[in-house]
Symmetry: C2
Subunit: 163 residues, 2 copies
DNA sequence: TATTGTTATACTCTATAACTATA
DNA sequence: TATAGTTATAGAGTATAACAATA
């Protein structure tokens, strides 16, 4: 059996340079891991998201909550928590802030006296409509090196992991 | 122009159920975003990672540092920071802990008196060798619904975003 | 003057325990 | 007894400013 074809190694670049003194290291092991790559990609999209959503005063979690309420009027905190995988105590101040900004409204739940139905206000509706458009735009730019087909494939494969 | 074909909406499930009272909400807008999906997928892999690496006493960042040092002996803190996109102050206690555990060693840098070359100890070499195998295994399981080809495609597409 | 590594610190995110009011 | 929402709090993760030693 012939020796296996070696993948190019950083060490073989130059036999006389044990300390290449570059700023970047050989990260090929990490770059072969789904977890590492998913986090790095998310970090990039995240940064663009934060920049573009700053004018709307929305962080990622705020956007998620408003977008869910736009398409699920009357949803409860518990439903938001289950859908977004966040813990109830961490949603409280968030909902309170959105309420204080006049973007959402808390109404008594029709069938359950313990629960509170969350609804977008007209201001909230307007804001999330604009924000959703901005997010679609920002997502397209952040993944501009992917074709439409590739982007769809990427999302489909990611969902095979968590959905 | 005819009305556009409606995508199936949660609202059309039943005209008499304005509050479906389910635990899951319609999240199709979010599920169309790369950022959202990348984060959700990373969260899953992350959980599996934490469970399987607990016996080794390694968090993700510890694993990344040790793995980089295994393939880049003598790397400096600054190089680790640049490669992993973390800030220097946040690496200090981390390196100190790995040093305290006897997994890495700090040696004076040959060409730069300010810098410190980081090296794995024999114990560190052994640990990261086992840990890398465990991570490959855990990654395969966490992405078990993907074929080998799909997993490669996923990684390639993620790297198109951040690399 | 610029860079490496460091300290101190603050802010955000995430997690747990315990309470209340309703079911 | 169990669940929805809340409070308080603790722990991680991430960020900035400022300093000492060296280039």
């Amino acid at each position: 059996m012939p020796p296996p074809a070696k993948t190019p190694s950083a060490k073989t670049e130059s036999a006389a340079a044990p300390s290449p003194r570059t700023d970047r290291l050989d990260a090929r092991v990490l770059e072969g891991l789904v977890g590492y790559n998913a986090r790095r990609a998310w970090l990039i999209v995240s940064t663009v998201f934060a920049d573009r959503m700053a004018p709307y005063g929305l962080k990622q979690i705020d956007f998620s909550v408003l977008s869910l309420l736009a398409h699920n009027p009357g949803a409860t905190s518990r439903q938001l928590c289950n859908t977004l995988d966040i813990l109830p105590p961490n949603l409280v101040s968030l909902v309170a802030t959105l309420d204080g900004r006049g973007l959402i409204e808390r109404r008594p739940h029709p069938h359950d006296g313990r629960a509170v139905g969350l609804h977008l206000t007209p201001a909230g509706e307007t804001l999330i409509r604009e924000a959703e458009q901005a997010v679609v735009q920002l997502e397209t730019e952040a993944s501009s090196r992917l074709s439409t087909r590739e982007r769809e494939t990427l999302i489909k494969l990611l969902q095979k992991i968590y959905l």
